[in-house]
Symmetry: C2
Subunit: 422 residues, 2 copies
Amino acid sequence: MKSGLSFLLAAKRCEIDELQQLALTSALVNVTGRLIHGLQRERGLSNLLIGSHGHQFQPSHQKQIEECREVEKELRACFDNLDTASASVGHGARLFSRIAYVLHGLDALDGLRERVASLQWTTRQSTDAYVRLISGLLAVVFEAADSASDPEISRLLVARFNFMQGKEFAGQERAAGSALFASGRADNAEQHRLLHLVESQERCLEVFGAFAQPRNFDLWQASQDSATLAELERLRRVLCTVAHGAVLDPQLSQAWFDCCSQRIDRMKAVEDRLALDLLRACEDKVALARDELSSYESLHPAATGAGAMSFFEDAPALGPNAPAAYVANPQGYGLQLERSILELVQEQARRLQNMSEELDTVRARLNERKVIERAKGLLMAHRQLSEEAAHKTMRQMAMNQNRRLIDVAEAVLSMAEVLPPR
Amino acid sequence: MKSGLSFLLAAKRCEIDELQQLALTSALVNVTGRLIHGLQRERGLSNLLIGSHGHQFQPSHQKQIEECREVEKELRACFDNLDTASASVGHGARLFSRIAYVLHGLDALDGLRERVASLQWTTRQSTDAYVRLISGLLAVVFEAADSASDPEISRLLVARFNFMQGKEFAGQERAAGSALFASGRADNAEQHRLLHLVESQERCLEVFGAFAQPRNFDLWQASQDSATLAELERLRRVLCTVAHGAVLDPQLSQAWFDCCSQRIDRMKAVEDRLALDLLRACEDKVALARDELSSYESLHPAATGAGAMSFFEDAPALGPNAPAAYVANPQGYGLQLERSILELVQEQARRLQNMSEELDTVRARLNERKVIERAKGLLMAHRQLSEEAAHKTMRQMAMNQNRRLIDVAEAVLSMAEVLPPR
């Protein structure tokens, strides 16, 4: 017959398994991040190539494609190594489903490259295609971020995901600006799009700031050198203030690309640091949990024999809704071994409960974001708005009504039935 | 090299595994529910026994203990059969940790019975001990409710958990009332406690009503026969309105016990129905998922070959934040097989995403409850209040400030640092 001790051990082993699974998923996310980085660059160079009607940027474009192919091979190998037979991969169904989608995109990538090289597609078409593939890759990262049940790890994952999403907006900004400069002519719609991308970056980096470890937020701040930033802001001003239809200097496209790339490459360095910290946090937690496990294993189950009345004495009960504050402050382990196992059990249950409550807080923040995106999608479909316009509408409503964006989003969603897509 | 199709299949298999795991956990919850029911009755009879100084109720008390022993054996067998070596049990660590706690309680149960039989303990001590053990058992039920990732199943689990929790408050009411009647004297503190228990029952049944299938809510309403209810309310009035220290008729204790038991036994019948519906829902979903799986398995992976440009055409992209409304309305499957696999992948990702969003909504409701309980715990610790008083204080604040209870609870928690436990 299994004792309380054997379930105490089993619970600890589950924790260890999950952390190890996270470390594995995290490695997958690292390779995904590298492919995203390469494709972001390929997207920008493709726009320069198309914009210059194939007269410029061919060598660097070709070189970038080869780099991407190498990383793609690595990522496919990671996918092949995933244990798809076991359901123990956190949130397996969703992760696998995202990977299936990404694989279709990767299969189509050479077709996209052909259309770019033969100048069959416009910069807008090419940009949209890369955005779609990268968005699929980010969805893989997102599922990994959504699967942790340790709040500290979850916070690191949320910080990393938002940083990567912010970097993607920076990449889209680079691609859009490259296309504009290379086309030689200002365009109102594209200018609005650029402004929206700048703002979206800032939003993501705010969330990153809220969840990241302070030292990593500082690292990000320090990594932005002011000369590059000043140049970026100058070029942004040029791009966004020239009147619709007026001339833009195509010679600036290389300067724009380099300046954006410098910033994005620095973001990649921060991203790598985030990945390393995450892996270390997983490893530290696994090591700690292993120590605890082996100290539990040295206990003898017979010590938890029948008649252990301490269960009904002193320490507060652990119910499904036992309030955390009420059950805090575990007492020091008693002298009797029997007593000490019960206290270990209580301590473990309490810790898991506190973790789950903290996790709810982290997830609530993630959830707010999802609610806002869904409300935006609803407005886009119902009023045939662009993403930028839908976002602006909601922000305006929030300002007019003096409410938070999340409240407006919830109000929009509660109207879903009367706001059908057109 | 694994194809998109192989991950489509893997995702579907994960869904099936999880549903099967849920069906297994659900069987465990059923036995847990039966033991809870037996212990609730044993608790009430123990109070009658102690209250009558051992002069009455001995045979029925003894018979109840034997019944409980049988169910306890069954539950221990269920625990033994749990696959503790695999981490694939949903939320394994928390479930196992709750079971470890319960096993300690069960080991101590005979000691509790001795103290009751030898009249060493007061009714209050005995009640508290049974409450603690049952609360541990309910925590096992709660972890099972918290582990589903299918929102429909999750809703059924939340309904069932709240119904079981409501039934436990009804059981505590029976025990407290039994002790009062058997003691022959009204007591102010116990009367307040009774009122609080009645109110707590009602709160749980409200949540049950919000999450249950309408036919099960109707079943619950229909199962309450008005003669029993009228008698219950009459006895409640007698119990709660007699002045502190005045005489209560001990002869009413059997009537009270029978009337409460009749109601609680009917609740058990509804609970059994909820369990059956849950199991059926799991089975239906497994069958459906299996059908889908075998239809996917008949597809050929070669059909998803490279150059499948449809990835970049038509259908909207699936990003991490792809708004649900925007990606709704999947188009009919195309004629080309290659196209149809991509659409299956997109459909699957969309469905999993919608499920996860619905689940957030269900969990948000669960979360509200946890927040209220934590805030209550904080007030209890900081102001040395009873649970009843803490709840009343928060409700009063909500009324005074014209805010929802959840808003007040969040405000209380945000003050945690300046409200240390005394």
